[in-house]
């Protein structure tokens, strides 16, 4: 750290010259940033205008009024309150299970030496990299052939239940989290658990009371990342859930165009509602999210 602090001023410490050199950079960055914002701003702008006004003045106009009516309508009549609840019901358990199982696995492969730990780690990492479509058909058929009582699932099997989506999401995300957490745990000094061993602490105490609390930064970063990943997951609910009213929000927006026909104002409002939770997480937990993304990538 101290070496960085010492060398940086030397690099940028040429006054005037470096300031001038950045003009072109700023022009380029502002242009790209403007391009980057255009689709979002346009969606927001469309969402804020009543359909009557855009019909009258055209979509590319400044006339008419602005308001949140489209948002209210999408939330109440478009079923977005329901879709949002569905997303929470899927995302929360899936993230909890993913982190729990991944941290247990990571602990076992990184803190205890035994024969197959690298083999298992490879299997977990590879699983996460597969395109989900590769396993779609068998997973669908497997879930279809699990018989469940009708009071539990109205399809009589795992299809059309949140459990199917949670299972698939968890299984798919465990690999990545195990990989990241095992790297993190490997870097913790081994004296920590050695000392606990001498004190007679069992494996579970070493995991739960010693290693896991030390992994809090990594868990926070991964948790944020996984909430976004699973909230954004489009494919598994599309595959497993047939009833439209059980879809989580990300998959439900696919039906918007059919549902709202060509009411683009309402579609735009729906898109903006879908975006709000991720935007809030982004604003509040940006550091965690970025840390989570880069944790997985710095391994050489």
């Amino acid at each position: 750290m101290s070496t960085i602090a010492r060398t940086r001023p030397v690099q940028t410490g040429k006054p005037g010259k470096s300031g001038k050199r950045h003009y072109g950079t700023h022009i380029f960055l502002i242009a790209v940033a403007a391009l980057w914002l255009v689709p979002l701003v346009w969606s927001m702008y469309t969402a804020l205008r009543p359909k009557a006004d855009t019909d009258k003045y055209g979509y590319f106009s400044f006339g008419g009024s602005f308001g949140f009516n489209n948002f209210v309508q999408a939330w109440t009549q478009g079923g977005f309150s329901k879709y949002f609840l569905n997303a929470v019901l899927i995302t929360v358990p899936a993230v909890v299970f993913t982190l729990l199982f991944a941290s247990m696995m990571a602990f076992a492969v990184s803190r205890v030496s035994w024969k197959f730990n690298v083999t298992l780690l490879i299997m977990f990492t590879a699983g996460n990299l597969l395109p989900p479509q590769v396993l779609a058909a068998p997973l669908f058929e497997m879930f279809k052939h699990v018989s469940l009582p009708y009071w539990f699932s109205d399809s009589g099997n795992l299809l059309n239940t949140y459990i199917a989506v949670i299972l698939a999401d968890t299984a798919f995300q465990i690999g990545f989290c195990t990989f990241v957490l095992s790297n993190y745990m490997k870097a913790l000094p081994s004296d920590l658990t050695e000392a606990a061993l001498v004190d007679g602490a069992g494996i579970w105490r070493q995991y739960w009371s010693i290693i896991l609390p030390l992994c809090r930064p990594a868990l926070a970063a991964l948790g944020t990342l996984e909430v976004i990943f699973i909230y954004n997951d489009f494919f598994w609910p599309l595959l497993f859930i047939q009833s439209g009213d059980r879809l989580p929000i990300t998959t439900a927006i696919n039906n918007l165009q059919g549902q709202f026909l060509s009411d683009y104002n309402l579609i735009a409002a729906g898109a903006m509602i879908t975006l709000i939770p991720t935007l809030i997480i982004y604003l509040v937990l940006q550091r965690q999210f970025v840390a989570g993304l880069t944790l997985g990538s710095s391994k050489g």
């Binding site: 689709p39 346009w42 247990m104 396993l135 927006i253 935007l279 880069t294």
Partner: protein, 335 residues
Amino acid sequence: MSATAEKPASPNSDPPGGARERQQVSRTAVPATARKKRGRVRRLSRRDKIVLGVMVGLPTLIQLLFVWLPTLFSIALSFTRWNGLDVSDIRPAGTDNYEFISQNYPPFWPAIQHNVLWLAFLALIATPLGLLLAVLLDQKIRGSKIYQSIFFTPVMLSLALIGIIWQLFYNRDSGLLNYLLGTAGTPQAVDWFGDSNVNIWAAMIAATWRHAGYVMILYLAGLKGVDPSLREAASIDGANAVQTFFRVVFPAMRPVNIVIVVITIIESLRAFDIVYVINRGTNGLELLSALVIQNLIGEGQVIGVGSALAVVLLVISLVPIVFYLIRTFGKEKEA
């Protein structure tokens, strides 16, 4: 690197770097670690072994049951004929499905072409754009954080939502793009997502919106990890900024480069959500992943054909996956 590895518990530390160092240590001192390993295992009580068994067994079972077993089933089903209704209806079909998709299934080759095009677009345009943004923002320029936030925002969005947002931008009659081009309302107005001549390009631009930000954030982290003394040494040797970057900084980010290569390939194989939202992957937007699903969902379920397509997708995916695994775990296996 060494400074961060000393305090692994802090949030900004670099555990993988630490791991690598530990590994090197353990490789030079094999007898010591071997002794320690044996000692550790002996010290495990029966109860600990059971706890450990559950801790390993449960995640492994989930992983095997819901990821690897279905993958094997996909391979098996690709050699059968099945309508997906009754398990007893499964009939062996040899390589019929593969012959069918390669010879009599019109969307197959366009899908392969589109997947390759998608990869090329991400690799030649989106990824270099992300790298360029990272390099520009890594300089100490004013407002760097604001620029980063703007470029990074699409990374938070699902590709499905990106499809919807860009649909609003690309629409023939109500989209902003045609208004800006002055063609809105005229017969020349292009339906950017509907016209099979242009929609793959329109979709790839929308995907770039997300991919470039992703690459940027990874490279920003990578650039911060490059030892500043390397750059100093290069500039003392008389290298200019471009030379320093391509000869010194870029090669020094090798771990990140590998991840970026893998992510770019995997993302191009997974580009499913956006084309499915646009038109379910038809009419100019055929992709392998979308074809798999078209054969599984809907009236005429042809599981065998869908599975054969899934296996093609699997085989292609295994190239970057194996490459990545060898790069990542090769050293550990030796040790």
